[in-house]
């Protein structure tokens, strides 16, 4: 297990060196995965909210389907997006394959179901508390959804975090649609995969540690926001 010690030293050295290539990769990882998380929230939260408050035929089947989608293998998502964005595919004319946009699209597809399924649970719990009051106020469906989303905002931050975590950690989808092109679409996970395939295990592990530190930073930021909110009983 000597390589873990090596990796630790290497990770520290890499961070201290302020290597511009590393910085570029880190920033692209954050840009792609944060964008994907934001867009997936714009899609997933309203869907989660409508399912949370809705009582309609096939709702249970829809819930099972949404929960199953959470387990989508990234490689399959990558492949589906590749087939659509490929020059010979239906959306090939957009010229998006092997761009960060393609990576964002793949990650949105990957995590929107997670956001929808987890937010559905959070919002349904909150709606149980609010339902009678809201019906008494004769709120429309849209007003109900808006109020639930706003009042659950700090719990939903955690939901977003779960999505971001999956996005920033996955490699299967982005390596297919991004192509791991140096200075263009190389992100932390594809760089780790590359270094592993070159047998540079210590370097790969060092990059993994840096990725972990980034994830820790994002989590800590969200946690501190949540704690402030909890002091005001807004959670």
């Amino acid at each position: 297990m000597q390589s873990i010690g090596d990796a630790l030293g290497l990770a520290v050295a890499l961070v201290l060196s302020g290597d511009p290539d590393l910085l570029e990769i880190v920033l692209l990882s954050l840009r792609v995965s944060l964008s994907a998380t934001v867009i997936a929230c714009l899609i997933g939260l309203p869907v989660g909210a409508l399912v949370a408050i809705g009582r309609f035929r096939g709702r249970n089947a829809l819930l099972v389907f949404m929960n199953a989608l959470m387990g989508l293998p990234p490689v399959v998502v990558g492949l589906l997006v590749y087939l659509h964005l490929s020059r010979s595919g239906p959306l090939g004319f957009l010229g998006l394959l092997y761009t960060p946009t393609a990576m964002i699209i793949a990650q949105v597809i990957l995590i929107a179901p997670i956001i929808a399924a987890l937010s559905r649970q959070v919002l349904e719990d909150l709606h149980t508390e609010y339902a009678d009051q809201f019906r008494s106020l004769c709120l429309s469906r849209v007003q109900t959804v808006q109020a639930l989303l706003w009042d659950a905002r700090y719990s939903l931050l955690t939901v977003g975090l779960a999505g971001f975590g999956r996005a920033v950690a996955e490699v299967g989808a982005v390596i297919i649609v991004g192509g791991n092109i140096d200075h263009l679409t190389r992100v932390m996970t594809t760089a780790i995969a590359l270094e592993t395939s070159k047998g540079e295990l210590a370097l790969a592990l060092a990059l993994g540690m840096i990725l972990l530190i980034i994830a820790l930073g994002v989590n800590a930021a969200v946690q501190s926001v949540r704690m402030t909110a909890a002091r005001q009983a807004y959670v």
Binding site: Y130, S136, D151, A233, V235
Partner: protein
């Protein structure tokens, strides 16, 4: 804050003309959950104005009756008639204050503004309502950090902000201290005096005596007795009501 009701209140004052929702006619109302019958052919007529106190032992179906009248639930059978309209048609013209206040995870002010916006009114009016219930000084605090009495006053202010013609209260003062109970009662009395029809569920005989124009005593899923307050308290007609007023256990 104890003299909250004495403060000037510039809200659009509902005239003393009775609401067109009144009188209320309830006929043969039945509510069943499986084997359990909660309401058993309950019939009731409520007049145009004043404060009706609904009393009765636990499990008599008082809270569920309020939800049915307010259109939040569907009865198993029977008719509810608000001046010619069904309960779900008139929900928006009524308000209900729950025993346990359901406050949004926002500031005190935002809780009022929320219903004002939902009713297409100016959010700025929230100041009047907060002043009316003596919560102006807490406007920017998180609503869910209020004390029990403050929370219920906010809940009441929010109900009044919808400008209801009928105000239901479901044991709003259970588990509150005496000063908070009095504050709530003053706000409710003020609303009654401005023409809001009050339908008030309580266990508290003292509260019923202070507030009631008339009393409905519920027992075993029926309106066992419905009398004017002046008649009910000195001389209840049903034995269950008599036992209840005398502090005996009624089941």
């Amino acid at each position: 804050m104890s003299d909250a009701a004495a403060m000037p209140f510039a809200q659009s004052v509902r005239s003393a003309v009775p609401s067109v929702l009144m009188p209320l006619r309830v006929r043969d109302l039945v509510l069943r959950f499986g084997e359990i019958t909660v309401l058993d052919h309950l019939s009731l007529d409520l007049g145009p104005r004043g404060c009706t106190m609904i009393m009765g032992p636990n499990g008599a179906g008082k809270s569920l009756l309020l939800k049915l009248l307010h259109g939040l639930m569907q009865p198993t059978a029977g008719q509810i008639d608000w001046g010619g309209q069904g309960p779900t048609d008139v929900t928006a013209r009524q308000a209900l204050v729950f025993q346990k206040p359901v406050l949004l995870r926002r500031s005190v002010r935002a809780n009022i503004e929320f219903v004002l916006k939902a009713r297409c009114k100016r959010p700025g009016e929230s100041a009047e309502f907060l002043e009316h219930v003596g919560l102006s000084h807490k406007a920017d605090q998180p609503a869910r950090l209020l004390s029990g009495g403050e929370a219920q006053r906010l809940s009441l202010a929010r109900a009044l902000a919808t400008d209801p013609e009928v105000l239901f209260l479901d044991e709003p003062t259970a588990s509150l201290d005496p000063a908070s109970v009095l504050a709530i009662e003053r706000i409710v009395s003020d609303a009654r005096n401005r023409g809001v029809r009050i339908i008030f569920v309580t266990h508290d005989v003292g509260q019923a005596r202070r507030m009631a124009d008339d009393v409905v005593f519920m027992h075993r899923g029926k309106a066992a007795e419905h009398s004017r307050a002046d008649d009910f308290f000195p001389d209840p007609q049903s034995s269950a009501a008599r036992d209840f007023l005398n502090g005996r256990i009624v089941v």
